[in-house]
Amino acid sequence: MSSPRRKFKDRFASRLVQVGFLVVVLLLWYLATTRWGVNKLLLPNPLNVWDQLADVIRKGEYLNDLRITLTELAVAFVISTVSGTLLGYAISRSPYLIKVFEPLFAGIYSIPIILFLPLYVLFFGLGPASKIALGTTISFFPVVLSTIAGFGNVDKVLVTAARSMGASDYQLFRFVLVPAALPVILSGLRMGFTVALLSVIGSETIASLAGLGHRIVNLAENMDMARMFAYIVFVIAIAASLNTVVSVLEARGRRQR
């Protein structure tokens, strides 16, 4: 009976530890800059960073870079989701194709594809196209692999049972295959989203004309450390909220199958 309350207590306790950890890190950061004399060029004062962040947000200076980064991310994620799920479903229909492509994709997924960024830049230029292409490539693999696994491992008894009751191809897909595969596919999509975000921002910091990653590197090159940190905090906040949204969508998708 006291189990919901107990759960709440546990959650509250672990949140407390997490917040405490962040507070300690901030405190150490503050002490390092004010008491222990760490060079401002290496580590700016957190209060300074806070002021800069407020300035960035008030002026709306981030808007253009944010728009570019998010557009790159969205396009890359949509392309890899559509192509990954369609191709994954097609492959999952044949044990032979699974045997051929699953190890192949898993192998490619395990190499650091970001190493090919120079090639992508040569082919697609310094603009958003190369970020989209790289983000798509990198996020395609978790999506296609989880789709193959999801549709490929549906319990055969359930399929046989549905067939014996007269399920049509469409009904089998809609009421058996999709609900059975959905949890695996959704966690693949979440992973795909995370790696797409990482590779878009990562490649912006290496070679680009605009975007949040570009802005951060630019500030670093101009030694404007406080503002650079302000942008880093900003990107972390954006990434955290996006990941929260995706996790919530995933959980909701799991429930409503």
């Binding site: 008894v157 359930l158 046989t160 049972a161 549905a162 067939r163 014996s164 009751m165 007269g166 399920a167 049509s168 009904q171 009421f175 058996v176 609900p179 059975a180 199958r257």
Partner: protein, 307 residues
């Protein structure tokens, strides 16, 4: 219970009459519910590693309204035969007819399956499982809820309609699977070790319920089991399989009206039939064990040759 008793008295003469006709092993039955003719089935091609001859030239008629048990050594082809009867496998050779229709695929309006694992969709509640089965079969939307409720009441699970399969015990899951099959209102039920994963006591109680249900509904049931007691308790006839490649070795008639009472299990007749079955099976199980021991012997021979 009144209804059951009434149905019982109606069914009894009919049953007695039929059983006289069935004295002979594997005799052809006029107007059979299911006819299996010279069915052989193999998996894989000759020479392939996974090649198995599962069924060999099996013929069997199942009368309307009877409960026939299939019993035999593990791996002899009982499930294969059941799947062939239901149109889930196409046999390598031979033919099956249901009524007058040759079987070429699933026949959802005539045949419902119950599998060893309950095969309920785990992401749907028990009630949703019932509705979905009827949706697949093509029952009009307006009838589904009513039929689902009635079938759940028949197996005593009406209070668990909103539960998910994982929230039920194994026995309850099998009852839910039985309810789903009943809601399809087919004349034929094919049950593959439906109570196989349950403990002996639960299994016996579910068997008693099934016996009552059967006497009410006049359904034709083919029931695969490994339990001698279950076979004698439930069946009008028991078909004993030979070791692989499986074929029917003998058919035993259990001349005892449904619904059967637990007392039947302690009767002399029950024990005589059970012992007879055991005698028939024992031989085949020995054979099937020596089959699976063959590779080992080959290995020993090879070892001798080497030394």
């Amino acid at each position: 219970m009144d209804g059951a008793a009434a149905a019982f008295s109606v069914i009894l003469p009919d049953r007695a009459l039929r059983i006289e006709n069935l004295g002979m092993t594997q005799a052809a039955i006029p107007d059979a519910a299911i006819r299996v003719r010279n069915v052989s089935h193999q998996f894989g091609e000759v020479g392939e590693a996974r090649h198995v001859r599962a069924l060999l030239n099996t013929s069997l008629d199942i009368a309307r309204g009877e409960l026939l048990c299939l019993i035999g050594p593990s791996g002899c082809g009982k499930s294969t035969l059941l799947n062939v009867m239901g149109g889930l496998f196409t046999p390598t050779t031979g033919a099956v007819t249901v009524g007058t229709t040759p079987v070429h695929g699933p026949m959802p309006h005539d045949i419902a399956f119950i599998f060893q694992e309950s095969a309920l969709f785990p992401w749907n509640t028990i009630f949703e499982n019932m509705i979905l089965g009827m949706t697949f079969q093509g029952v009009p939307k307006s009838e589904r809820e009513d039929r689902a409720r009635r079938a759940l009441e028949a197996v005593g699970l009406d209070e668990f309609a909103a539960h998910y399969p994982s929230q039920l015990s194994g026995g309850m899951r099998q009852r839910a699977a039985l309810a789903r099959a009943l809601s399809l209102e087919t004349q034929i039920l094919l049950m593959d070790e439906p109570f196989g994963a349950l403990d002996e006591q639960t299994r016996m109680v579910l068997g008693e319920d099934l016996s009552v249900l059967l006497s009410r509904s006049k359904k034709t049931i083919v029931f695969v089991t490994h339990s001698l007691g279950e076979a004698v308790f439930l069946a009008d006839r028991v078909a004993v399989f030979s070791a692989r490649p499986g074929t029917i070795k003998e058919v035993i008639t259990v001349d005892e009206p449904h619904p059967r009472k637990p007392e039947f299990m302690t009767s002399a007749k029950f024990h005589r039939l059970r012992d007879q079955l055991y005698g028939l099976l024992h031989e085949e199980i020995r054979k099937s064990m020596s089959q699976s021991a063959k590779p080992k012997r080959a290995y020993e021979d090879q070892a001798k040759g080497d030394s």
